[in-house]
């Protein structure tokens, strides 16, 4: 059953991605980006990663389509430049895609309990969470305490992105 659901969701993801690339109407493409985010969130739920699913639903399906819509309000909702595929472009895309698929061949099998990510520091965090941090959600204890440096870095990234947008686009009102 889970196999069937995964297959359907992944197929829908591929269809949505193809439609986003194909559509000229950017407004419809932004709506499909939201659907893409929701499908991804559903896949994360099936993988038991509810925190990530939550983030993906809020960011991928919620805020990024809104910000894209706001950008469309400035630029217009139709793609005007002709997009006839060029040979060089297709070659680059195929080469990059092929390299990515080739790279996945070296990755551990899906769900492999002996994958490096499961035998490195993860067991230490999961065993220590209740006795050292004392909160039930291990994701939060890893994110906020064990890997606090990384999360601080992420917050700096978001802050820097915001500052960059403000500097580039400016406060368009001058107040």
């Amino acid at each position: 059953m889970e196999y069937l659901i995964n297959t359907v969701l992944l197929a829908l993801l591929a269809v949505t991605a193809g439609a986003i690339a194909y559509l000229r109407n950017l407004f419809a493409a932004v709506m499909l980006v939201g659907i893409y985010g929701l499908l991804t969130a559903a896949i994360f739920v099936i993988l038991d990663a509810v925190d990530v699913a939550f983030t993906e639903a809020a960011v991928g399906a919620g805020i990024s389509p809104i910000l894209m819509l706001a950008a469309l309000a400035l630029t217009g909702r139709e793609q005007t430049a002709p997009t006839s595929p060029s040979g060089a472009g297709i070659a680059i895309v195929l080469a990059t895609g092929g390299a990515l698929v080739w790279g996945t061949l070296d990755m551990p099998y899906f769900g492999d309990p002996l994958a490096p990510v499961h035998v490195h520091v993860a067991p230490r965090y999961l065993e220590g969470t209740l006795s050292e941090i004392g909160i039930p959600n291990a994701v939060t204890s890893v994110l906020a305490s064990y890997r606090g440096y990384d999360t601080l870095g992420e917050v700096f990234v978001i802050f820097t992105a915001g500052i960059g947008a403000i500097v580039l686009l400016g406060n368009r009102r001058g107040d």
Partner: protein, 135 residues
């Protein structure tokens, strides 16, 4: 969207719920799915929904662009400040155990504070981005 009465009524009913849900996600992240990133985005989505339905001008009056920029920096400072506070109390940077006499209570306090810093920065940056795209 000045004359869309249905939109206005529905937005007025849902925006408070969205903001309260964001606070729940923010402060319940220790016990269930959630945390500062999700809460900040949901809170900002509520504010941006207000801006979309009632006009960005009214949102700018409620949350001035300068305030959003200040809050974005304040959240990062709160996060890093908790780390420095741990150093001043004799621990390592971002070691929350030394914040309170009981190490586990210190961990709880530290996580609460840094998650709040994350939420404030994320929400403020999202609203600032919305301002960047709306004249």
């Amino acid at each position: 969207m000045r004359h869309h009465h249905v939109l206005h009524v529905v937005a007025k009913m849902t925006i408070p719920l969205i903001l309260v849900f964001a606070l729940y996600v923010q402060f319940h992240g220790d016990f269930g799915p959630g945390g500062g990133f999700q809460a900040g985005v949901i809170f900002a989505a509520g504010l941006i929904l207000y801006g979309l339905v009632f006009g960005a001008d009214r949102l700018r009056r409620a949350v001035p662009a300068g305030l959003a920029g200040t809050l974005a920096a304040a959240g990062v400072l709160l996060y890093a400040g908790v780390g420095v506070a741990g150093m001043l109390l004799g621990g390592a940077f971002l070691d929350y155990g030394v914040l309170l006499p009981d190490p586990m209570a210190g961990q709880h306090l530290g996580i609460l504070l840094i998650e709040f810093g994350v939420g404030v920065t994320v929400a403020a940056v999202m609203v600032s981005l919305f301002y960047c795209f709306t004249a």
